[in-house]
């Protein structure tokens, strides 16, 4: 019965395409399809050209030492790094007297000492740390930087400049905008109609206009608003402008957090007999602020970048002082501008990138805690 069917084995399948190992990775991620291959090749060509130009400009054709522009005037010109080297003191301290610069260094150092353990979640003594940073440090920094007390030489704020001004404006803005923003956000959600409409008005006006008009207002209009004879310095006026401006943005970020808290939390707090401020401080805000950490850090980053705008009203922040030193004839080369901008851009980039990475780190940490 058995029909003698002849069994022929099927031909073996071709060996599987590599999907593991280096070859497999390259195949799936770079050369998966013909159009992918084309894209990869074009991208490689563009990348090669960009990196080649950059390396030539910043390293191979660059000048690394010299006392003035002559060193940088070559046939093939690259970055003129001695310009940055010669002006570095100015870029960091501005016109702060050279003999007094140790004071700025001391303030930088004591700030960093306070900040680093605060940023490391595992570090102990958080409460003492916060008290040091928000209580002691500002007073210390103010006394050290302005001088005039304890036998310190007074230094006018008009002599401050460079990274010092950038950091002073940014840090004051950050420290002032968070509490102000929280108050505004609470006010915007308040039951009291007058408080609410005042807060809405403030937030919407400051968010609707560019920072530069706020700074113009602070520098030209504010003196008109003060009684005759009363005047405070330009840096202070800009600080107020920047703080008000960023507090409006901060308020909207915090409001997002407040809205995300379920109503039950408010009711539970009320059921426990907590008053408005207590329930906010102990129940609502800790949860709400945790939710919006990325938004808060984004506002900080925006604020940090926006500090450059003070140069338009005549303060010399890092970008302002770099721009100012382009007028120095002894360093006038075709590459001076780009070199200076590259340096300033790098400094700003490091700060902003570090902040954004830290916010991602915190976000991941907090989200695993919630699980």
């Amino acid at each position: 019965m058995s029909s003698a069917t002849h069994w022929t084995p099927k031909p073996p399948r071709p060996a599987p395409v590599h999907t593991v190992g280096v070859r497999g990775w390259i195949r799936t991620n770079l050369f998966a399809t013909p159009s992918d291959t084309l894209l990869t090749l074009v991208a490689m060509a563009v990348l090669y050209l960009t990196i080649d130009t950059l390396v030539h400009w910043a390293y191979i054709d660059a000048t690394f030492s010299g006392a003035n522009r002559d060193a940088c005037l070559k046939a093939v010109q690259g970055a003129c790094w001695p310009f940055v080297d010669a002006k570095l003191g100015q870029f960091i301290y501005g016109r702060y007297p050279e003999l007094e610069r140790w004071r700025v260094d001391l303030v930088f150092a004591s700030g960093v000492i306070g900040l680093i353990p605060l940023l490391i979640p595992a570090a102990p003594f958080k409460r003492a740390n916060v008290i040091y940073l928000l209580g002691f440090f500002p007073v210390f920094a103010f006394i050290m930087l302005t001088g005039g007390r304890f036998g310190l030489e007074p230094v006018e704020t008009t002599d401050w400049g460079g990274l010092l001004v950038t950091l002073v404006v940014a840090i004051t803005g950050i420290v002032a905008s968070l509490p102000l923003g929280i108050l505004l956000a609470l006010g915007r959600r308040s039951q009291m109609p007058i408080v609410r409409s005042l807060c809405i008005g403030f937030i919407e006006i400051f968010r609707g206009v560019p920072l530069i008009t706020v700074l113009f207002m602070a520098s030209v209009m504010l003196p008109l608003f003060l009684p005759d004879g009363v005047n405070f310095d330009k840096l202070m006026r800009c600080l107020i402008g920047v703080a008000l401006f960023s507090s409006a943005y901060m308020a909207e970020v915090v409001r997002g957090g407040l809205q995300a808290i379920p109503k039950g939390q408010y009711e539970a707090a009320a059921a426990l007999g907590l008053g408005y401020w207590k329930s906010m401080r102990l129940i609502i805000l800790p949860q709400a602020l945790k939710l919006v950490i990325p938004g808060i850090v984004n506002t900080f980053i925006g604020l940090f970048k926006d500090t450059t705008l003070v140069l338009i009203v005549g303060l010399f922040d890092l970008l302002g002082i770099v721009q100012f030193h382009f007028t120095d004839a002894s360093w006038a080369t075709p590459e001076t501008h780009i070199t200076g901008y590259a340096f300033a851009a790098f400094v700003f980039w490091v700060f902003c990138f570090a902040m954004s990475r830290y916010s991602i780190f915190m976000e991941n940490r907090l989200s695993t805690e919630r699980d």
Binding site: N29, L30, A32, D36, L39, T40, A43, M44, V46, L47, Q191, M192, P193, I194, V195, L198, I205, R207, G208, V209, P210, L211, I212, T213, F216, M217, V220, M221, P223, L224, F225, L226, P227, D228, I301, K305, D306, T307, T308, L309, L311, I312, L319, Q323, F326, P334, H337, I338, Y341, A344, A345, F348, W349, C352, F353, S356
Partner: protein
């Protein structure tokens, strides 16, 4: 509201009123002492300064009111073109960031991290002082093709002038465009009711071809090329793009594109994997899936933050003052303020202009958002 709240708010109002009246009395006192006039009368005075880019007629004899309008138009010009460029670039980079091609995705990431972490003002100054002003003088301008030139005075492109009879062509173009809109709408409606895709391209092409043929028959070819040529120290003819405009536009678009691409990326990621799989199960191609399934749903997530990026771009265009591009802040809150000294009125007007622009933009985007949000909810 408890009685305490009422009292509190009343006190607040009183304090606010007192504070305001104190400020007003300070201002009037200060203005009198410094001999600064008040009121908006200055708007009708002669401005007496030149402006490097004007979209409408302007001479030094025109009034400050005209200066305000010219500044506003320049702000709008750079904002609108910037928004278009930033959107296109942002969408491309956002999609590239999600590409399965590792290299493309990483290049997009590096672009984003560089451009959004460097202050915009620095980028504007880099393009202006570092790049565009560093170009050779017009006499040694870089030639692009045969008739476009790049120099430290800006970019000159060839243009064309319309001669008599060009109106026929304008009319043909207008009719064709209207026809396109109407036909597209009808085809879409029919598609929704019958389910068969409607093709209208052939009819449209035929119609438009006829229109332009008629225009040609009536007027011939009423255009003359306007090619720039070097005369003395600068170029004459053609369309001149001033370096301030180019630098500002470049910086604004590249900077905002980095933010838009992140918005686009998160929008696309937010569309569930199930949607992709369902589309694949229906046999839709990758492109069709993206166009008909992913993007319409992603748009609902994208639009609100995109609106605030558009607003940011418009507000950021005020940084023009740093490179003297004649926008509203530069010519009005800058030059005019210096000449007139009426800080209160001028800053007030400038802020009002920006506030209205913000309100207008968010109104327009909100109504668009409403339309596409409805489409999503019907499904």
């Amino acid at each position: 509201m408890s009685r305490r709240d009422v009292v509190l708010q009343f006190l607040m109002l009183v304090l606010l009123g007192l504070g305001l009246s104190w400020l007003v009395s300070n201002v009037t006192g200060n203005l009198e002492r410094q001999n600064i006039a008040s009121g908006f009368g200055f708007l009708n005075e002669r401005a007496g300064f030149g402006i490097s880019q004007t979209l409408i007629e302007y001479t030094e004899d025109d009034t400050y009111q005209r200066v305000l309008i010219i500044g506003l138009l320049n702000t709008l010009l750079v904002s609108v073109i910037g928004i278009v460029l930033a959107s296109v670039l942002g969408f491309v980079i956002g999609v590239a960031r999600l590409s399965s091609n590792w290299l493309i995705s990483k290049i997009a990431m590096v672009y984003i991290e560089i451009f959004r972490n460097v202050p915009l003002l620095l980028q504007i100054m880099f393009w202006y002082f570092g790049v565009l002003r560093n170009l050779p003088s017009p006499r040694r301008a870089i030639e692009i093709g045969d008739s476009a030139f790049l120099s430290n005075r800006g970019i000159v492109l060839p243009g064309f002038t319309m001669l008599e009879g060009a109106g026929w062509y304008v009319a043909a173009l207008a009719i064709s465009l209207t026809a396109w809109f109407v036909m597209r709408r009808r085809a879409h409606k029919k598609f929704l009711t019958t389910g068969t895709p409607q093709s209208y391209w052939r009819v449209l092409a035929l119609g438009a071809g006829t229109m332009f043929a008629i225009a040609y028959a009536m007027a011939g070819f009423p255009f003359a090329a306007d090619v720039p040529a070097l005369r003395g120290f600068n170029f004459r003819g053609g369309v001149n793009i001033i370096p301030e405009f180019a630098a500002l536009l470049l910086a604004l678009s590249l900077y905002t594109a980095a933010f838009i691409s992140e918005i686009v990326r998160s929008g696309i990621v937010s569309v569930g994997q199930g949607q992709r799989e369902a589309a694949a199960a229906l046999g839709l191609s990758n492109n069709t899936t993206l166009r008909l399934v992913i993007i319409p749903q992603a748009m609902r997530v994208i639009i609100p933050p995109l609106t605030s990026q558009y607003l940011n771009l418009t507000k950021n265009s005020s940084l023009a003052v740093a490179i003297a591009y004649p926008d509203i802040v530069s010519v009005f809150a800058g030059t005019t303020l210096t000449q007139i000294g009426q800080a209160v009125e001028i800053i007030f007007i400038t802020m009002m202009v920006y506030l209205s622009l913000s309100l207008l933009t968010s109104w327009a985007m909100n109504s668009y958002n409403k339309r596409i949000a409805l489409v999503g909810q019907n499904a």
